[in-house]
């Protein structure tokens, strides 16, 4: 949960960034931490919740969604950045909203206990 909030924080820093290397490093720290913890969470939480019988399939079922969304994201951020230029819509803000959504979704999953 903290890790997912960290991602929101990282994006907030990124929005504030305007060429300052220190802020960029701060972004890197927060983003990196979030990323690292999420990687571990990704590995452990499904096992905790669903048990480890047939873990290979369960793992992949979860990660398939993630992978598909990643595949889409390769292309989609480019329109996002472009939007930002043309319509003054901030691509980073879009990502931040998505990060908040991901936190919400995760909390639902965990609370079902």
């Amino acid at each position: 949960m903290i890790a997912l909030w960290l991602l929101v924080g990282a994006l907030a820093v990124l929005i504030a960034l305007h060429g300052e290397v220190i802020l960029a490093l701060a972004f890197a720290v927060v983003f990196g931490c979030s990323n690292g913890v999420v990687t571990i969470v990704r590995g452990t939480v499904p096992a905790e919740l669903f048990g480890r019988a047939g873990y290979g399939v369960a793992r992949w079922a979860v990660s398939r969604r993630r992978r598909c969304s990643r595949a889409r994201s390769r292309r989609s951020p480019s329109p996002l950045w472009r939007c930002r230029r043309r319509r003054r819509l901030d691509g980073c803000s879009c990502l931040t909203v998505m990060a908040v959504l991901s936190v919400a979704s995760f909390s639902i999953a965990v609370k079902k206990r």
Binding site: L7, L11, L17, H18, G19, V21, A24, F27, A28, V30, G32, C33, N35, G36, V38, T39, R42, G43, T44, A47, E48, L49, F50, G51, R52, A53, G54, Y55, G56, V57, R59, W60, A61, V62, S63, R64, R65, R67, S69, R70, A71, R72, S73, R74, R75, S76, P77, S78, L80, W81, A99, L101, S102, S105, F106, I108, A109, V110, K112, R113
Partner: protein, 707 residues
Amino acid sequence: MGHFAPDGTVYQSSLSFNGGVLAAGSSSAILVSRSADGGATWSNPTDGDSRRAEFLQRQGLDHRRFDRRASGVARCGIGSTAAITPRPISAAPPTAASAWEIASAIYDPGANRQTLNNQVVVLPDGTLINFFTQLNMPPNAPATATLAIIRSPDKGVTWSAPIVISPVQSIGTIDPQTLAHVRDGSGSGLDRRRTARRASPRYGRTRASAAARATASPFRARSTEDSPGPRPFAVNRVTSVAAFVPAVTVRADGTYGVSYYDFRNNTDDASTLLTDYWLARSTDGVTWLESHIAGPFDLADRAQRRRPVSRRLSGTDQHRGGVPAVLRTDQHRQPRQSHRCLLHAGKLRRNRARRARGRRGVGSASACDAADGHDAGVATDAASECDTRDSAAHARPRPSGSAAGKIAVAGRTAATTPVAALTSRHDPGYPRPPRTLARPDADHFLGALYYSIAVLGASMRDELGLSAAALFGAYSLSLLLSALAAPLAGRAIDRYGGRLVMSVGSVTAALALFAIAHAHSAMTLYAAWALAGIAMAMTLYDAAFATLSQHAGTSYRTALTALTLMGGLASTAFWPLSLKGLGMARLARHAERIRAACKSRSAFRCISPSCLERVTPIVAGRTGAEYENGSLPPESRRPAFIALGAAFALNGFIVSALTVHMITLLQGKGLTLESAVWVGAFSDRCRWRAGFSSSPSVAVFHCAVSA
């Protein structure tokens, strides 16, 4: 300089000296050699103007001045006889030495004046136009320069009085370290340093106003034609450094090509001035694809400094449809501020004198009408750039006219081969064209299956001529395929064990990377990435996690954290490695060396999956069935699964978007490429540390495993 005849023959001409350059007792001549096989072999030089040397001696004039004035004359004879005229002036075919006309004077600018940068162009109706820069150098007064043309309706027999186009409005290029002017040809021989010193208190203002004039006038011109002029676009990708000596051309299919030099790879070392030669291509004039043609070479090299960067001023050729492109370079006051190459594509102006107008930005002379149906070749520019290095000519090359379709902007090989041909013949010291760039750039994908595309995407795109969407599309395809293959891989891990699946995956990954390295077309690239996607499904985190869950038993969490630590190192190591490799590849001249480097790198990659396996503690004899059940009651599993999937999917989207686009994004936020890469790598190091701090016991575990 080089020229392309309509039949594809390449002509190379130079003003050559026997003995010292313009010294007493030396003789000079315009020598011409030709190549009928695209520059592979060359004829012996023939004397295009045999009487010239004798003539110079007999006149006893100021050789230097006379030479400049007369050189255009001599070349006019050469150019119109054979090199670019579709209809030769002389009756004899321009194949033998006897075909060269004896040079005759066509224009005498008068005392204290001279011309240079003479460029002859043949209009479709046979009219010859000689474009030149006239230098007026009155004693005790600042020198001035004007652009002018003379016309000959009768194929060179008689010539009109000069038609003045404009004063030279160039701003010049400045060495960012020493602030010395670079001899980029923009001043057309005007000693800018002298001018600058003389006018030093007002110098800044002078330059600014020149820039303002250059910026404003095209818009003014267009507004009188009551059509909204096209917006200028930045052509060069790096606008923080000066781009100079731009040459623009339009191919018959409407592709624009702009070649230019810039200092983006220059270092802080004031004794060197590293310069690269670039080509930007565009089909719509809006999106530009930049590729590297040559360099970096040291412009501050003493031997080279004596010669101008490029004698070749750009010529704008128009294709049959008549869309000329006018190139301007826009510079700001401070040398370190942004400089832009701007391209205007506009409609033909009716006034022919204005059509032939040279708008001089930094060394650009957009120029005259090329012979109908001739494509201009950037190759010609490259060839001219190269061959002037070995001649002591003070002459200027002409606008390029090339064999239709043969030498074209988009043809990378065609664009570089003549350079190689001329180089190998005349100047072994000149940097050879980096023909092998495609290979090393692709090979750096071996550095990391997953991370390097963020760093190398741009150069991949350039080398393969793909759009960003196409390249990242290939990557997306591989991710999609890995998602599709994921359940199969998961089932296989459950059934056969992670060890076997991951081993097979590693071999597949190595094969895929090898294929990516050798992909030279979009199709092969997509196929290779598809294979890589399948390999990813079998080797990356998720497979490793599943394998760990089988083997690690109760210490599963610890093992998983350890794996994440190792994984975190992947991009920390490979992003900067890719960048360094890229720089090395550009500097490396020999394909063998690069190939050797690639081999070591592919070996590196092959090692890394086996590293993952080393982290995996092998505990034999356990199966998935033995493990504990989850904490969730069966009825609430499905909604939890969906919510968890959504959370991870959103997270994956964001992380992936940021990972892949981080370098570009940070650059967009004002960071340099170098610092962006280090920030990116740093973020991964943080991920490593995050994993570390979450479980201190992991360190001990990790040591135990690696030992």
